[in-house]
Amino acid sequence: MKILVAVKQVAALDEDFAIREDGRDVDPDFLIRDLNEWDDFSLEEAVKIKEASADPVEVVVVSVGPGEADESLRKCLAKGADRAIRVWDDAMEGSDPIAIARVLAAVAKRENPALLFAGVQSSDHGFAATGMAAAAFLAWPHAAVVCSLQYAPGAARAVFRRELEGGLLHEVEIECPAVLTVQLGINTPRYASLRSIKQAAAKPIEVLGLADLQLGGGEVGEAGSASRVRRMYIPDKGRAQLIEGDVAQQAQRLAAIIREFKGETP
């Protein structure tokens, strides 16, 4: 039995970043890459199912990205994934979540897992779309924002809870195979020591291209996307009025704000 976990190497902005010449993205020199925070949780959930299972379960991680994504895949291998796949072709440059989802669905068709996990969203662009779009391309049952999961490997159904707004949970039963997007806090991701990451460097990462997945250039990249970036800009930041002074003065002003507020309520 196999669980496929889609992971993303996200980018965070470094200090004093600048927008690229063409105005559509940030200068890559200022991007700091790391594994998406949600993917720590979805991978951990898969590994937990594997470890609790009497029968063998294979956890495969897949990511769509250029060579530098290998670093994040290695981290996943160190954290208990059995195999890693990276998919890339230059034609994939500029893909939005819909285009990425098409690629992931092709990998899932190839791997035939019982479950496909993704994170609810990525910490860089936060589309919250890739997982569910992949489900549509696979025509599989799907659900988002899973905060707890009960699944016996190979079972026909799974029971999970979705985390709704306002501190409410909704329990749902779903047919498998299914695509689930996993929310933060579902488990406690394990630590991958530097040594285990280094050792994972010895494990091979399978690299696939468009041809391996029988995809055409028009299905990925900008051509395969459902939106197009026109312009990226740094917004004028609304700025709070800073209360200056030493600690005593600042606290005094804050106390005054509180008193003023309470004075309004009878």
Binding site: D14, E15, I32, T188, Y191, S193, L194, R195
Partner: protein, 708 residues
């Protein structure tokens, strides 16, 4: 009757014993030696079941070092001079008595029968008797004091109550230790006393023989007792009977004692000396790398320890000095270095002394079972090396704890905050989670530009460190130091973004893989720069760069700022314009003081500034850790417990009229300023970095005087 012929004076061995009796004695003697040798074999087999280890350095150097320590008892005098003196009496008494017996055996069993050589008679014999009598008195005197100390004085460090077990646990109370301690004392004492009685009995028995009776005062103690016996009405015949019975009793007891040496506390005679022989003087300052061959990092099974560490476990005599010195234990944490060692010893004895090695699962030293070490115990350690530094028999607790931690780290068994910090350090190269590019931001507000040592050569490379670069309070100290260097005209530079966390504490947490990454990065940055020497304001960085980086390809001349600034003032490059006349106390930072013996430069510097130094009770090698080391600054303290820094501030607060508590480490500054507030001592005295005092004493030059 002629007067005694002193040259014929001797003691006839086995006098009036039948051949059968002599043979019986020899048989028993050989049996005792056989039991002894078997015991030694079991112990050596135990050590060999550990991992291999190559000792560095010359054997001759090790031998002379050990010899000096053992003969002078220099390590035993520390922090307990009375016990040191008493042990010296016991040691020399025992050694002399042993040498005496060996001398007799040498003549009686070897030289005389084989070569006909005899020397144990006449003048030599008489002086021999006197010396041994004195040795016996020393032995008994020392033992008596130890009994008084243990039974009446009851020093706290001899309390075997464990902080890492609760009542009800199998190995919570260890009455067997107390029994063994007292048995050891009494046995030796009885052997000694019966020796004298035996001597006295013989004298009474042979009182008719002039060459014995007339020379009896060469054995003063025996002679006195003989007089007492005669006064009590014991006849020569009575003496004969007494002598025979005492002879067998004393002899058998002594043989039992010898036979049981390897099975009891008495083995410390060998194990402690061997431990001193095998010691690593940089044990805690320079931690061991993970051997290439080793699969899983750290120690999981008892057999993962190397033979020296297993030997360390047996060298411990439960003196309690480490227990007393440990800052974690002092504030009630579930850690006592003594009990880590003793637990592991019991575990090793239970598993490694049998004929066959038990299954791997039974060799796991982590856990809460008897002899195992719990996670909370290991995570309580501050790696301050107070234990290693004071141990008289060179037990190396800190490397043992760190190697146990390595396994916990590999398994992810850490406090969540610590886990997060390690991930942050891996990602950003610092423990604050700030972008690498901001590492040099503290320098932007200065009126001068600091050279980038990555781009141009400098004379002095200043390794700033995490806390000094990112913590707001410490940034002020860093800026002050930069200004002082600038005013003194020092040609210095920093690595800016090229510097990462030096890794000292990451290594001590047990994340060896991350340490290798950090050390590798820093060594690459340093090797790429051109400089004469390194100076640092951070003792942790100082320790690891000085002692550990050479193994990673980076050997540099490095100083802590205290000796550097001391030299600047001595050479006149900085002038003390006003004497501060402050009443201060100096807190020795662990990594500068105890780790690297840097006790004097900060004190000399303080004196140069015109400050009066009042030492705290625990100073220099006995300085009390602020509690931030070993990664503890990244692990939350349990709610409601006293922190080591608070304990320390209270110690300082007891100094009347204290004005300034002086520190020279960024973590100390953070911990003690916090403790000053939480102990309610704010307003009574202040905590200041030594650099800040230097700034107060050295006036900033007028603008025209500062070189560009």
């Amino acid at each position: 009757m002629s007067s005694s012929r002193t040259d014929a004076v001797t003691r006839i061995l086995f006098e009036a014993f039948s051949t059968a009796e002599v043979r019986l004695f020899y048989a028993l003697g050989f049996a005792a030696i056989g039991i002894f040798l078997y015991g030694v074999y079991v112990q050596i087999r135990k050590y060999r079941r550990g991992a291999p280890l190559r000792l560095e350095g010359s054997w001759w150097g090790r031998l002379t070092d050990m010899g000096a320590k053992v003969l002078s008892h220099s390590t035993l005098k520390r922090r307990d001079p009375a016990a040191g003196a008493a042990h010296r009496l016991i040691f020399y008494g025992f050694v002399l008595l042993f040498l005496g017996t060996a001398t007799i055996t040498l003549e009686y069993d070897i030289l005389e029968p084989l070569f006909g050589i005899r020397f144990w008679h006449g003048g030599f014999y008489l002086i021999f008797s006197l010396v041994l009598d004195a040795a016996g008195v020393a032995l008994i005197g020392g033992l008596a004091f130890m009994m008084y100390r243990r039974g009446w004085l009851k020093p706290p460090k001899l309390d075997y109550a464990r902080p890492d077990r609760a009542p009800g646990d199998a190995d919570f109370d260890r009455p067997q230790y107390r029994r063994e301690d007292w048995a050891f004392l009494w046995t030796l004492l009885i052997i000694g006393c019966t020796g004298y009685l035996l001597e006295a009995a013989r004298l009474v028995w042979l009182s008719g023989r002039p060459d014995v009776w007339d020379t009896r005062w060469w054995s003063p103690a025996g002679a006195l007792l003989a007089e007492a016996l005669r006064a009590l009405g014991v006849s020569a015949h009575g003496g004969e009977v007494l002598r025979v019975s005492l002879w067998w009793f004393h002899g058998l007891l002594a043989l039992c004692f010898i036979a049981l040496i390897p099975y009891s506390k008495v083995k410390h005679i060998f194990t402690s000396a061997a431990s001193l022989l095998a010691r690593d003087p940089l044990a805690a300052q320079r931690l061991p790398r993970i051997p290439e061959a080793q699969e899983a990092p750290g120690v999981a099974k008892i057999t993962d320890f190397n033979w020296k560490q297993l030997l360390n476990l047996d060298a411990c005599t439960k003196c309690g000095r480490c227990h007393e010195a440990c800052p974690a234990r002092a504030v009630g944490a579930p850690l006592s270095p003594r009990d880590v060692i003793l637990s592991l010893r019991e575990f090793a004895n239970a598993t490694l002394e049998g004929g066959a090695l038990p299954a791997a699962a039974e060799l796991d030293v982590h856990g809460k079972g008897p002899g195992q070490i719990a996670q909370e115990t290991l995570w309580s350690c501050r790696t301050c090396m107070a234990c290693v530094e004071i141990c008289p028999v060179a037990v190396e607790h800190v490397p043992i704890i760190v190697q146990l931690r390595r396994k916990l780290v590999e398994d992810g068994d850490m406090d969540p905050l610590l886990t997060k910090t390690l991930q942050t350090i891996h990602k950003t190269g610092n423990s604050f989670g700030e972008s690498k590019r901001k590492r040099g931001s503290w320098s932007k507000s200065l009126p001068f530009k600091i050279k980038d040592a990555r781009k141009e050569p400098v004379e002095v490379l200043w390794f700033v460190g995490d806390y000094a670069s990112f913590d707001p309070r410490n940034q002020k100290v860093t800026q002050t130091f930069a200004t002082l260097l600038h005013e003194a005209g020092v040609d210095f530079g920093i690595l800016y973004d090229g510097e990462s966390n030096a890794g000292n504490d990451v290594r001590r947490v047990g994340e060896e893989g991350l340490y290798e990454v950090l050390a590798g990065a820093n060594v690459a940055a340093l090797n790429g720069a051109t400089f004469q020497s390194i100076v640092t304001t951070d003792p942790h960085s100082y320790n690891t760069i000085r002692n550990e980086y050479p193994e990673f390809g980076g050997s540099y001349r490095i100083e802590h700022y205290t000796s550097f600034v001391h030299r600047l003032i001595a050479e006149g490059r900085l002038n003390v314009d006003r004497q501060l006349k402050l009443r201060t106390t100096f807190h020795d930072p662990c990594h500068l003081g105890r780790f690297n013996r840097g006790y004097e430069p900060p004190r000399e510097l303080l004196r140069m500034l015109g400050c009066e130094i009042v030492e705290m009770g625990r100073s220099r090698a006995n300085s009390f850790c602020c509690g931030a080391g070993g990664g503890r600054i990244w692990i939350p303290d349990p709610v409601g417990t006293e922190k080591p820094a608070q304990n320390r501030i209270k110690e300082a607060a007891a100094i009347p009229g204290l004005e300034v508590y002086v520190v020279s480490c960024p973590k100390d500054l953070t911990m003690f300023e916090d403790a000053l507030k939480t102990t309610g001592n704010e307003g009574k005295f202040v905590v200041k970095e030594l650099i800040e005092l230097v700034r107060e004493a050295v006036a900033a030059p007028r603008p025209t005087e500062v070189s560009a």
